[in-house]
Subunit: 244 residues, 4 copies
Amino acid sequence: MAARYDEIKLGRLKEEVCEANLELVEKKLVIYTWGNVSGILREEGLVVIKPSGVSYDNLVPNMMVVLDLSGNVIEGNYNPSSDTPTHLELYKGFPEIGGIVHTHSTYATAWAQAKRPIECFGTTHSDYFYHEIPCTPELTPEEIGGDYETNTGKVILRTMEGRDYKAMPGILVANHGPFTWGKDPFTAVHNSVVLEELARMAYLTLTINQDITGIQGALMDKHYLRKHGQNAYYGQPADKEQKK
Amino acid sequence: MAARYDEIKLGRLKEEVCEANLELVEKKLVIYTWGNVSGILREEGLVVIKPSGVSYDNLVPNMMVVLDLSGNVIEGNYNPSSDTPTHLELYKGFPEIGGIVHTHSTYATAWAQAKRPIECFGTTHSDYFYHEIPCTPELTPEEIGGDYETNTGKVILRTMEGRDYKAMPGILVANHGPFTWGKDPFTAVHNSVVLEELARMAYLTLTINQDITGIQGALMDKHYLRKHGQNAYYGQPADKEQKK
Amino acid sequence: MAARYDEIKLGRLKEEVCEANLELVEKKLVIYTWGNVSGILREEGLVVIKPSGVSYDNLVPNMMVVLDLSGNVIEGNYNPSSDTPTHLELYKGFPEIGGIVHTHSTYATAWAQAKRPIECFGTTHSDYFYHEIPCTPELTPEEIGGDYETNTGKVILRTMEGRDYKAMPGILVANHGPFTWGKDPFTAVHNSVVLEELARMAYLTLTINQDITGIQGALMDKHYLRKHGQNAYYGQPADKEQKK
Amino acid sequence: MAARYDEIKLGRLKEEVCEANLELVEKKLVIYTWGNVSGILREEGLVVIKPSGVSYDNLVPNMMVVLDLSGNVIEGNYNPSSDTPTHLELYKGFPEIGGIVHTHSTYATAWAQAKRPIECFGTTHSDYFYHEIPCTPELTPEEIGGDYETNTGKVILRTMEGRDYKAMPGILVANHGPFTWGKDPFTAVHNSVVLEELARMAYLTLTINQDITGIQGALMDKHYLRKHGQNAYYGQPADKEQKK
């Protein structure tokens, strides 16, 4: 077994995933057990995720569950999050992400419940999410009755078809809530915080002016690209490598 | 008297009820004296409840009032909560609950004032409350003029007829506010926190999309049952016994 | 001068007024200098009020300004609150109040800006405020151009005509914000906190259900009277004298 | 170089700008790196501004960037905020301001995204901002594709034409967010806090009463002038010089 993976690297990821889970509480995105964060060691094909239904108050790194991409538990004394199969689908479908977050954060969940994508109303949005944040269609009764959590992953991947998952690091699952991802668990949490704030701003924008439409393409491009494009000039030079 | 009940067991319940009352403040469900929690020793038929109109700042366990199910004060130097008769009705009508909470939490009270049940718009709701959260009809002037607090309990029981009180651990009393219950006082508080958040999410959902309807039955069943059903797989094996 | 009033009693009131002002910040009813609390010694005819435009961070009791009911400064090194003449009118018009609060708290101010009274939508409201919370008419340009702050007091008194100021311990001044009062400065602050929460609940109630109307008279009477009536049974026996 | 400016004065401004940036976080106007504050030494023609994309957690005074009014970096190891050219335009256009703030605060940004000016609905507004807070028109694709941040400054100046920038210390940039200014960086932050609260109150006012119109001119004048006019009587005598 020792040959199969690097214990130090895995231990570090468990700490990171644990801490990223705790950050969900600190950023007020979850109450009780309403969320989960995972991370992945790509070379080893190992996913680290929060145990199911365990209170954040008691969470420590060695409670994290380690699985392979087929869902076999490799390490850990707890059941993994019941949403684990959704995470696995996304890791398989988005080959360059390193972390995933699921929450029931208030405003993002309200949009998911209203089954509406979040249109791009401003530069705050296009600084992070390029174009509108999609909302999946509902699952069919067959998909729900079958392998529900895997099918949740599949409907996310289907909805993301034709979209660049690096430029759209999150989605709303209809009647459920948001999923976000990123290059590592902390970036995925960061994107969850931003998504929640964008959902809140969009809610207010729409109730101030029901007829408002999204921002013009030129402005959306400008903001996304000044931060993430090849000639990005937002931030410090050292950030650039990190960004791509 | 010593023969009638176990002082240690009762002392423990007083501590639990006191602490559960304080948790209402910590979770921002009540300001001033706007709420109360009770618990029951089923075998002994003793109910422990917060004293009426006493500030949470000064609450200690031996200020709790102990009553029998007929409302006779057995122990305590204070008047019990003015809502005590409502609690007693619920303990009599729901034989397996162990704790009850009443608050005037903002969003749940707003729905109660709007006299609308909270429809099940998403999985956050169906993880805890199976189907829409009902709102009682208004009391008649006769019911208000008579034994008001007992009649409040009765209208709750009438509205819950045909519903499973374990799968619907809360209700809105029209023009008043929410009541929740659970297997013990802390679970009842937990359900109050969840109800308030569901009320907030439903409010936002409805103002984003006025025409939205509740989630499909298959999804509602799936989420409720993966957490509470016989084959529940959410959480850890040890939780199961606790859950039912 | 020593003959005119009791220094100890006055010193105690200054402390109380100072602390009540600080409580506005703690309860999140004011930011910066957006509020003021006063108190009165009825026998001596002395009003104690916050100095104008002074930050709450630096407020200490001996910065409070002491005036007589004609507005003459008796003690203090600072200008009194610019709203002082409004307070004086209310002390003259409501002979049994002992404290007054003015804030620009968010929801109450929004109702004042919308120029709508806050209808009584539930028992939370009728536990404290008997009937709808009125909103004054606008001042005329002449009243604004004249002795503006005194005229603000006068329009409050005019609007309160035919209402019992003890059963309606607050009002909205159109386009401006709320004033509340009570038997002492802390009770007036308490009523400001309650008014803000009622304004928030009423806002939510109305946006959930635009056609909602106020609660039936029987329920309103029941709640107001079980707490404040002759046969009040809310709270502890010792509270009763305090209440009336 | 030593002859060109006073190191002590500059050092003090760096501290002030750094602290004013941190105040944005404390006042909950920004998350992550979503805002920036600058200050200016008028005689020296030196602008001090936050570095771009740097976390507030790590901000210390000597990380501030010093530029001249043409945008040449004079001192500092970091890239200046990407919004620097907007700040420079405003310093050139508003000759008596000493500090500028840009944020993406929630309610003000929602109004900017809804592309609506914030009407003056009450005295809280007219205590600080005289008349409605304008919203710029959208930039043209050419302006966005060209020197975008400079053009943002130019559209602000164009929109402010005919308005007194001292009596209107802030603006909404369409689809983007608010900019505020003041006699120094802290006053500019103060104005940002006030603008956000006014945006929130106006949002609530409008959703309570869609047909509401702004306050009468006499009341607006009264409140603005009792605080800022020649015969201002709000606050303490010592404030007066500071105010103008």
